[in-house]
C-alpha cells in the first residue's frame, strides 16, 4: 500500500494558540480516515493545512506525494475538498459553478461537460443544476459542494464535517456517496467529523484529536476494545465520584470513570459484573436511576482518553438554549 497523506510533527499556531500540536499521520491509498474530535479540537485547521489553505508553522505534511509547503500547486491538482461550510456562490447556477470549477482545473469544454453529466448523477442533483444556488436546500448545497470537489477526479478527497447540520436522511445519503467513491474509485478520503456514529460507520481507521493533539488512532474496533469488551453505564441520584472506590473494588471491573451523576464502568465480561456492580452501588447508599450494559462506543473511548464526552456543535447549541431557557424561567420566577 502507498501512503497518500503523511504528516510529521505537524504544528499550526495562531499567535499564541497552538491549534495543531505535533500531529503525526500515515494514511494509505484507498483508505477512509476519520478524524474525530469535538469543536475546536484542531480538525479543521489540520484539514486547511493539508489542503494548502494554511501553511504549517512547523513539521511537514505530504499529500499525494507532494509537500504542502513547498509544492502546494501539485497538491491542489491531486485533491478535492468540501469544507465545513458549503463554499458556494449563491448567485451562480449549479452548472455555472461546476463549469468554472472544471475550467480552473484545466479541463477542456468537452471534459467539463462529461464531468457535469457524471456528477449530476453521482450526487443526484441533475435537474437543479440550472437553478441559482440560492434556491438550494442545505442538503443540495452540500451535494453540490461535493460535486465541485470531485469535478477533476481527485486522488484524495477531504471532507470537513460533511454532514454537520444535515437531517438524518441527507446524512445517510452523504455516507452512501462517500462509501461509493471510496469503493468504486479507490479514492482516499480524509473525513473530519464530530459525530461518533459517522466515524464508526464510515472510517477504516479513526484518529482522535483533542486540544490539537492526536490522542489515539486505530480501527473503530481496536479503539473501542482498548477500554474493555463491555461498558456499564450508571446514572445515580447523587455524586458518582463518591461511589467509585466501592465499584472499583468489584472483581472483573477494569476501569471506572465518574462525571457528575454518571458513571462509566468498563469490564471484560459485563454480564458477569453488572450484578455485583449494582450491589456495590446500593451499598454506597446512592440511589441508582439507570444501569445499562452495552458495548463500548467511540464516545467511551474519548471519555477515557480525555475525561470528557465529545460535544457536537448541535449539542452545544442545545445546551446553550437549555441554559438560556432555564435562566429566563429563573428570572421570571424571581
Amino acid at each position: 500500500m502507498r501512503t497518500t497523506i503523511s504528516t510529521e510533527k505537524l504544528v499550526r499556531e495562531f499567535d499564541s494558540l497552538r491549534a495543531v500540536d505535533e500531529v503525526d499521520l500515515e494514511i494509505e491509498q484507498g483508505e477512509i480516515y476519520g478524524f474525530l474530535g469535538p469543536n475546536g479540537a484542531g480538525k479543521s485547521t489540520t484539514v486547511r493545512v493539508l489542503c494548502t489553505l494554511l501553511a504549517p508553522t512547523a513539521g511537514r505534511a505530504v499529500v499525494a506525494g507532494h509537500d504542502v509547503a513547498t509544492d502546494p500547486g501539485k497538491v491542489r491538482l491531486s485533491i478535492g475538498v468540501a469544507l465545513q461550510e458549503a463554499a458556494l456562490d449563491p448567485k451562480q447556477t449549479g452548472a455555472e459553478l461546476l463549469r468554472l470549477q472544471g475550467r480552473l482545473y484545466g479541463l477542456s469544454k468537452a471534459e467539463v461537460e462529461q464531468r457535469l453529466a457524471d456528477l449530476s448523477q453521482l450526487v443526484d442533483i441533475g435537474d437543479a443544476l440550472g437553478r441559482p444556488i440560492s434556491t438550494y436546500s442545505g442538503g443540495m448545497k452540500r451535494r453540490l459542494d461535493l460535486a465541485a470537489a470531485l469535478v477533476h477526479n481527485p486522488q484524495v478527497l477531504f471532507l470537513d464535517e460533511p454532514t454537520t447540520g444535515l437531517d438524518p436522511m441527507s446524512r445517510a445519503r452523504v455516507w452512501e456517496e462517500v462509501r461509493r467513491l471510496n469503493q468504486d474509485l479507490d479514492m482516499t478520503i480524509f473525513l473530519t467529523t464530530q459525530y461518533l456514529e459517522e466515524a464508526d460507520e464510515l472510517a477504516n481507521r479513526v484518529g482522535i484529536i483533542n486540544d490539537g493533539k492526536l490522542v489515539a488512532e486505530g480501527t473503530p474496533f481496536e479503539l473501542k476494545h482498548r477500554i474493555g469488551n463491555d461498558v456499564i453505564f450508571a446514572r445515580l441520584d447523587g455524586d458518582a465520584a463518591g461511589a467509585c472506590p466501592m465499584v472499583e473494588a468489584v472483581a472483573g471491573v477494569a476501569g471506572v470513570e465518574a462525571r457528575g451523576n454518571e458513571m462509566v464502568i468498563t469490564a471484560a465480561e459485563g454480564t458477569a459484573v453488572i450484578g455485583p456492580v449494582a450491589v456495590a452501588l446500593n451499598n454506597c447508599g446512592i440511589p441508582v436511576r439507570d444501569l445499562t450494559l452495552r458495548t463500548p462506543t467511540l464516545d467511551d473511548v474519548f471519555l477515557e482518553l480525555t475525561g470528557t464526552h465529545i460535544q457536537t456543535s448541535d449539542e452545544a447549541i442545545e445546551a446553550e438554549l437549555t441554559e438560556m431557557t432555564e435562566s429566563d424561567s429563573t428570572e421570571v420566577k424571581s
Binding site: 500547486g73 491538482l77 475538498v81 458556494l88 451562480q92 482545473y105 477526479n153 468504486d184
Partner: protein
Amino acid sequence: MTAIDTAVTAPIAPSAIRARPAGLLHDISSIAGRALRAVPRDVESVIPPIFIALFFFVVNVGTLSDLTETNIPGFDFTAFQMPTAILLGVTGVSRAYALVLDVQDGYFDRLLLTPIRRLAILLGHLCADVSVACALTVPILIMGFILGVRFESGPLGVVAFIVLAGLWSLAFAGFGYAIALKTGNPAAVSSSFLLFFPFLFLTSSYVPREELSGWLDTVASINPVTYLLEGLRSLVIEGWQWADLGQALVAVAAVGSISMWLCFAALRGRIKRG
C-alpha cells in the same frame, strides 16, 4: 427501484479526466467571465452610478451652463462637464463588494483550493471591472452627444476617452479590493466610496482650473483627478493635446500603482491568513 435509486447505487465509472494547470490567461478569463456573468444579476451595482452620473450631468448643465458661459467667453460648459459626469459614473465601479461576499461565503477559499494562479483572482475581477466601466461610459457619451457635445479629436478620440476613463476606473477599483481583502467586511467596502469625494470634488470638476483660488487651487494642483480631467477635456474640446494626455496617463498610473500595490498586498495577506 426508482430512477434516483438506480443512479445512486450504480457503480461509478472511473474517468481518465485529470486536473492540469490551466495557464494564467485562461485563469484570468475564467474569473473575468464569472464576474461579468454576475453583472446582470446584480444590476443594483451598476444602475446607481450611471443614474447619478446622468442626473448630475443634466442638472449641472441645466443650472450652470448659462452662468459659466456668460462669464467665460467661448466656454462650452456641456463639453466641459462631460468628463466630470464620466468620472462620476465609473469611479468606484468594481466587483470588490462581490469579492468580499466570496470571502464571507467561503467561495474565496474554494477558489484558493484550485490550482488557479492567485494573481488571476484579482486580475480577472479587474478585467471585468474595466469592461463594465467602459460600457458605462457609453450612455453618458450618448447623453453628451444629444446635448450637443462633439469631439475635436474625432472618433479615435472617443475611443481614447473611453480607454482613459476605464483605466481610471481600474486604478480606483484597486482601493476597493484592498479594503475587501484586508477586512473581509462588506460594510468597510461600502464605505470606501468616501475616497471618492476628495478625488472628484477637490478639483476642477465644475469650473476651469484657472477659476479656482486659495486652498482649493492648491489641493486641486496635487489631486491626480485634475490632470485626468484636463486630459479627458482636451480630447473633447481641443483635440489631440499630447502633453495633457501624458499628464493624465501619469496621474492614472500614480494612483493605480498605489492602489494595485495595496490590493495585491491585501491578497497576499488574505492568502497567508488562510
